[in-house]
């Protein structure tokens, strides 16, 4: 099923679609208010973009500097060229520590590598601790948004799954009650877990330390109760210096939710004496993206999700319709790099309105890259034959004036004689739209007539 077909299922529930659309738009407007309060906003975006572009252009140097400092700090550093190796490294650490059950805070990278599913096959259970992620985990589905994993759900859905899995009182849909219930059950997990896995928001080359941002405090509860901390990061998470964080921390949450900063911005540099800290540095397709002039800059992404919240297609189709680990506009650029065949439809799930590029805190030219992917995927033959054929026909028509004029005439005449040809339920364009009457003459004919007067 492609994006359009999945989206159709999502929008079948009109009320839910309207709520989803309005809620994300509200978050987008909170972002606007926060950004407009800072006169230096555009300056911050320029710096963020330049710092990331510089880091990517010297990534090898900064990775080595980071590794050197991290090792000096007592951190054990691992490198994984793909998701499989990432999973094996973690499996080994867990087995060395005889760990059967562990807590994990939000990390899109571990989602990308399908870590939970892999560990399940070897009998190890992962408990996601971000509330939104826990909800979707209990429902046995993936997150639909990278910052708000359960944004596709209503409180009734949460109440239902908590009743089934956590013994909640049936029918009690009070968000505070449900949150407290999850807090209680997850606290038990925190206290029992010997190992905690986290993602990384920023890794600082000059200090060999990492920064993790959360509002719930779940990452820190996990890490600081456990004996072993495993942090997983893509190679693109680096920043050269700690003072660069001033720019990124100011941008990240303002772009994400309109908050000036997350509640917790934690800086881990050394394991606590007697404890272990591991860092897994992962490539998994990133160096391929780095090699591409067209798509390299997508690696600047700091996963704020501003492009999701503003996207008219995302808001009205829901994250699951993308069928990708990262949905939304940025996911539609990242996903075809992993699997062009599976994700060939995603760059087309956009109006190319450019709103995503305008809100992106690191100034990725998202909509231009979507357009480039369309060309690349079509050239490589990944788009459906009907789409490719239509494009060829259109290219011929637009390139041959005579053919264009004749086709226009035939088209207008046909539609005037047989309007049901397009006004029927098999035409997807007619389903949600009124079709205008076909005009008698083309604009060119009209123009010629009136020019003479």
């Amino acid at each position: 099923m492609n994006h359009a077909e999945k989206a159709e299922r999502f929008i079948a529930d009109k009320q839910r679609t309207a709520w989803h659309d309005e809620t994300l738009w509200f978050i987008r407007s909170k972002r606007d208010t926060a950004a407009q309060k800072l006169p230096e906003w555009e300056q911050l975006r320029n710096w963020a973009s330049d710092i990331k572009a510089h880091t990517l252009s010297r990534l090898d140097v900064y990775l080595e500097e980071f590794e050197r400092n991290a090792i000096a700090n007592g951190i054990i550093v691992h490198w994984a060229k793909d998701g499989e190796e990432h999973n094996q490294i973690i499996e080994k650490i867990l087995k060395d520590n005889q760990c059967k059950r562990l807590v994990k805070s939000k990390s899109m990278l571990t989602e990308e590598c399908h870590l939970n599913a892999h560990l399940k096959t070897v009998g190890i259970e992962v408990i996601d601790t971000d509330l939104g992620e826990r909800i979707v985990q209990l429902r046995d589905e993936p997150p639909s948004h990278i910052v708000l994993p359960a944004i596709h759900l209503k409180k009734k859905d949460v109440s239902d799954v908590f009743t089934e899995k956590l013994g909640a009182t049936p029918g009690n849909e009070d968000p505070e009650y449900l949150t407290r219930l999850a807090r209680k059950s997850l606290r038990e997990e925190f206290l029992q877990s010997e190992v905690a896995i986290t993602g990384v928001n920023f890794a600082i080359a000059e200090t060999g330390g990492i920064v993790i941002c959360t509002n719930e405090g779940n990452a820190d509860m996990g890490v600081n109760n456990a004996r072993v901390h495993i942090a997983c990061m893509g190679i693109e998470k680096l920043l050269p210096k700690k003072e660069h964080l001033g720019v990124f921390i100011r941008l990240l949450t303002r772009s994400a939710t309109g908050q000036p900063i997350t509640i917790y911005t934690s800086h881990y540099r050394k394991p606590k004496p007697g404890k272990e800290m591991h860092l897994v540095i992962v490539d998994n397709g990133r160096t391929r993206q780095l090699a591409s002039d067209d798509f390299r800059s997508s690696l600047k992404c700091i996963r704020c999700a501003a492009c999701f919240n503003t996207c008219p297609v995302y808001r009205r189709s829901g994250g699951h319709s993308y069928d990708a680990v990262v949905a939304g506009p940025i996911g539609s650029i990242l996903s075809p790099n992993y699997d062009p065949k599976k994700h060939a439809d995603l760059p087309f799930a956009s109006t190319l309105c450019g709103s995503c590029s305008n809100v992106c805190p690191v100034k990725i030219d998202i909509h231009d890259q979507l357009w480039k992917w369309r060309q690349t995927l079509t050239q490589q033959g990944y788009t459906p034959a009907s789409k490719t054929l239509m494009m060829r026909v259109m290219a011929f028509m637009l390139g041959h004036r005579g053919a264009y004029a004749i086709a226009g005439k035939i088209g207008r005449w046909t539609l005037r004689q047989f309007p049901q040809l397009i006004r029927n339920r098999w035409n997807p364009w007619y389903r949600q739209r009124e079709m205008p009457d076909a005009p008698k003459e083309s604009f060119q004919e009209w123009f010629k007539k009136h020019q003479k007067i």
């Binding site: 330049d50 252009s57 807090r183 997850l186 779940n218 820190d220 490539d283």
Partner: protein, 188 residues
């Protein structure tokens, strides 16, 4: 070839011209005036309680009153610093913050002031003490401080833990403390 070597080789193989790093970033972008007022406004936005007091003693006194007969912890560097047996089951904790940021009411807490790394997250109610003289304007100024990354662990805390993951309804008290109070010590 190890994966480390492979990844680094692949990056080197596609190395582009060096993109320029911005010239030195400013040490501060927001004005230095009225830091206290701005800090207090920020607290009201994040649901953080704030109390302006004149001494550390006054702060710990207020804290002890709030803690009543619950289990409590007074962190290192504060009058009355006590030891604690079970840090994850603390009801009330008061810790010494190093500095506060006016633009977002974040307070920097260093590891050696926590007693145990878990305290600021596990305690049901958290009190942070900051001196008015230690307020900075914004995150640029904050990250120019040597304190950041100086110890093994450090954290900016900017409110009580919270979540809006259930239908976007804000709930204070997710996995960390249910409340945060900042005790601002003024010398004026």
């Amino acid at each position: 070839m190890s994966s480390r070597q492979q990844i680094l080789e692949r990056i080197r193989a596609v190395r582009q011209n060096e993109q320029k790093l911005p010239d030195e970033l400013p040490k501060r972008m927001l004005p230095l005036e009225e830091l206290r007022e701005r800090f207090i406004v920020s607290c009201s936005i994040t649901g953080t309680g704030v109390h302006v007091l004149s001494s550390m003693e006054e702060a710990t006194f207020l804290f002890m009153q709030k803690a009543g007969s619950c289990s409590f912890y007074i962190g290192p560097g504060l009058p009355g610093n006590n030891s604690i047996e079970d840090p994850v089951r603390t009801d009330y904790a008061i810790l010494k913050g190093e500095f506060g940021v006016a633009e977002n009411n974040a307070v920097w807490l260093k590891e050696s002031s926590m007693g145990d790394r878990v305290i600021p997250f596990a305690s049901l109610h958290l009190y942070l003490l900051v001196s008015e003289d230690d307020l900075v304007a914004d995150m640029h100024e904050a990250y120019h401080k040597d304190l950041i990354f100086q110890e093994g662990f450090g954290v900016f805390i900017a409110g009580p833990s919270k979540t809006a993951d259930i239908e976007q309804s804000l709930v204070i008290g997710a996995h960390g403390p249910l409340s945060l109070d900042i005790l601002l010590i003024t010398n004026h």
